[in-house]
Amino acid sequence: MEGFMAVVVGIFFTVAIYLMLSQYIIRILLGVAILGNAVNMLLFVAGRVTREAPPIIGKGADMLPATAANPLPQALILTAIVISFSFFAFLLVLAYRAYQTLKTDDTHQMRLAEPEDAPPPPLGY
């Protein structure tokens, strides 16, 4: 199971990196969204995939059965999902706002903060 999941995670990373290498902000953002999901699955596999029992301590017992799923990665993923979701929402708004103001989502043309024709500093008085 872990081996299969590892391959799936690898495919997700491949797609994410390919999209993030694009010069258009919207594709980069799609890549960022997929990257977030790839990392979540990586965390899930990192905790080993067990499906026998949910991580609940039964009545009368004082520790988890050995076959129970690992609850910690699930807590980690939950945190990571919330964070990546809110960041993605912010990035979408930022990108849209930048598109409205700059009239482009092509990173090659987004040179406002770093003008290409900026003159070198003066050589003397």
């Binding site: 990392v39 965390l43 987004m110 500093p121």
Partner: protein, 520 residues
């Protein structure tokens, strides 16, 4: 307590039952204080007068808390507090050692200076959109990162400071800001995600997230574990945050676009969080892999220094020149990490603290220069010395400090690092520090000659004064730099103790596990 049905012996095995000493609450006080004040400031966001009246005393209080925490750590050594009283490694631990406490205090001082400068620099509209709440949340995230003892928790603090920094960066929504912020936001998010990937692999290998637990288990792992891969992912992630050579281009693309106070705080605090995390992980947790990668880190350090100082020479906008100087400083710190010995690490820590204070001061200086001279460009800036000799004197002190000339605070750590480099045969790193220092001196003094000494073409100079909100933080930070430069021994001794504590984390481990590291 609700635990009455569970026998006491069972509780002792899982929880800390002894009451927490009063001064140990200081461990979590800085982030909690910042979050609390930030929340209150959001509630009163409509009342402009109250915002500044609350913020500046609260920042003063933060500096006091940070100083008290440092005093406790100096007296007692590293201290640990576990959330929910669960015994480590199960509860999330906050562990403060000397390194964390020193960085935390420098962060508090920078935040206070930035807050005072903001009274003059941040206008009413930007305050309405929440400058002060964002400032507090960001500083809370930065100090949380310096104080936590849990690697996943460190990631969460990274995200806290990152989302607040986005808020600060786009305040005002000018065209250039949106352009810079898009690049900053995307690249920093990718960097932080890399960090999360590393945390996931680390959990798969170790089954624990507590830093002390990991540091204790790392030597016992054997050669099957993919430690070199894991370390490389960590190094890549933190170097992206710290703006090291091949992944540094987001910094000069964005740091000159927001208000000058925001840029100064970013330059002082945010890159140093990346450096701190790199030192914590590669020096304390994985020293073996850190040594194995020392050549890689060293080469990156040299290239970072040289690109930074060459970039600084090529800029005509003084804010962008300062952005490249931040990068030079990161290279110098990385060089200390690469050398790895106690003297080198203490030099790196000392330089980080110096850089937090001086880079903020330099940005504040650039803001005043821009207001007095009407431009940030070296083509138009002129006659500042004739306008205000006091401002020119402070500027010159800061320029010398960032270039590493005595008797300012930049000199000592650079001298330590150069000496360490030649002692350990890494002459190329020592030479790079000296060459980058020379190039930085050229860039800084040329800016001074053009902007401050040169008289305007019209010949007429109107004297200008600094307002109190400009003078107090600038003079305070500059005096701090001069003071540390003239009397470096106390800070030097602290940095050396902190470096020994990182290289031999016995006291750190003992603070987390008083009865020895648990074996599975």
């Amino acid at each position: 307590m609700a635990a009455s049905s569970i026998p006491l012996e069972a509780l002792e095995k899982s929880m800390v039952l002894a009451p927490v000493p009063a001064e140990h609450w200081l461990v979590i006080a800085p982030p909690v204080w910042c979050m609390l004040v930030g929340a209150i400031l959001i509630m009163v966001r409509k009342r402009m007068g109250l915002q500044s009246w609350l913020s500046i005393p609260a920042l003063g209080g933060l500096v006091l808390i940070d100083a008290a925490l440092l005093a406790v750590v100096i007296r007692e050594g590293p201290i640990t507090m576990v959330m929910g009283r669960w015994l480590p490694p199960f509860g999330i631990a906050f562990t403060v050692d000397l390194t964390g406490a020193l960085f935390n205090l420098a962060c508090g001082i920078a935040a206070l200076a930035g807050g005072i400068a903001a009274l003059g620099d941040i206008d009413r509209t930007r305050r309405t959109y929440g400058f002060f709440p964002f400032l507090f949340l960001m500083v809370g995230g930065v100090s949380g990162a310096f104080l936590t003892g849990d690697i996943f928790n460190l990631y969460v603090w990274f995200e806290v400071l990152l989302i607040s920094s986005f808020g600060l960066l786009i305040l005002g929504s000018e065209r250039e800001q949106l352009d810079g912020a898009t690049k900053y936001a995307i690249l920093n998010l990718i960097g932080t995600t890399l960090f999360l990937i590393a945390v996931g692999i680390l959990y798969a290998v170790f089954g624990t997230l507590n830093m002390a637990d990991i540091a204790a288990k790392a030597p016992t792992l054997g050669h099957d574990a993919p430690m070199m891969t894991l370390s490389l992912v960590f190094i890549a992630a933190f170097m992206m945050k710290a703006a090291a050579f091949p992944v540094n281009f987001w910094l000069p693309a964005s740091y000159h676009t927001p208000r000058i106070v925001v840029a100064g705080l970013f330059a002082g605090l945010l890159t140093k969080v990346g450096v701190y995390a790199l030192i914590r992980v590669m020096v304390m947790m994985f020293p073996e892999e850190g040594n194995a990668y020392s050549i890689v880190i060293g080469v990156v350090a040299v290239l970072t220094m040289l690109t930074g100082s060459l970039g600084a020479i090529a800029q005509s906008d003084i804010r962008r020149m300062l952005g490249y100087m931040v990068i030079t400083g990161i290279g110098i710190i990385l060089s200390g990490v690469a050398l790895g010995a106690q003297t080198a690490i203490s030099g790196a820590l000392f330089y980080s603290l110096h850089s937090m204070i001086v880079m903020l001061a330099l940005y504040l200086m650039a803001g005043i220069a821009g207001r007095m001279g009407g431009s940030f460009s070296l083509h138009e800036l002129s006659g500042l010395y004739a306008k205000s000799p006091l401002f020119a004197a402070l500027t010159l002190a800061l320029f010398f400090s960032v270039s590493g000339l005595p008797p300012f605070s930049g000199f000592w750590p650079k001298a330590m690092l150069v000496k360490a480099a030649f002692d350990f045969g890494a002459w190329w790193q020592g030479a790079a520090i000296l060459v980058s220092g020379l190039l930085t001196t050229i860039a800084a003094t040329r800016a001074f000659a053009l902007g401050w000494w040169r008289m305007p073409a019209s010949g007429a100079v109107v004297p200008a004064r600094m307002t109190a909100a400009e003078l107090i933080p600038l003079a305070g930070l500059t005096l701090l730099s001069v003071g540390v430069g003239i009397y470096p021994e106390p800070l030097l001794a602290l940095a050396q103790t902190a470096a020994s504590g990182l290289l031999e984390p016995v006291a750190y481990l003992h603070s987390v596990f008083p009865s020895g590291v648990p074996t599975p």
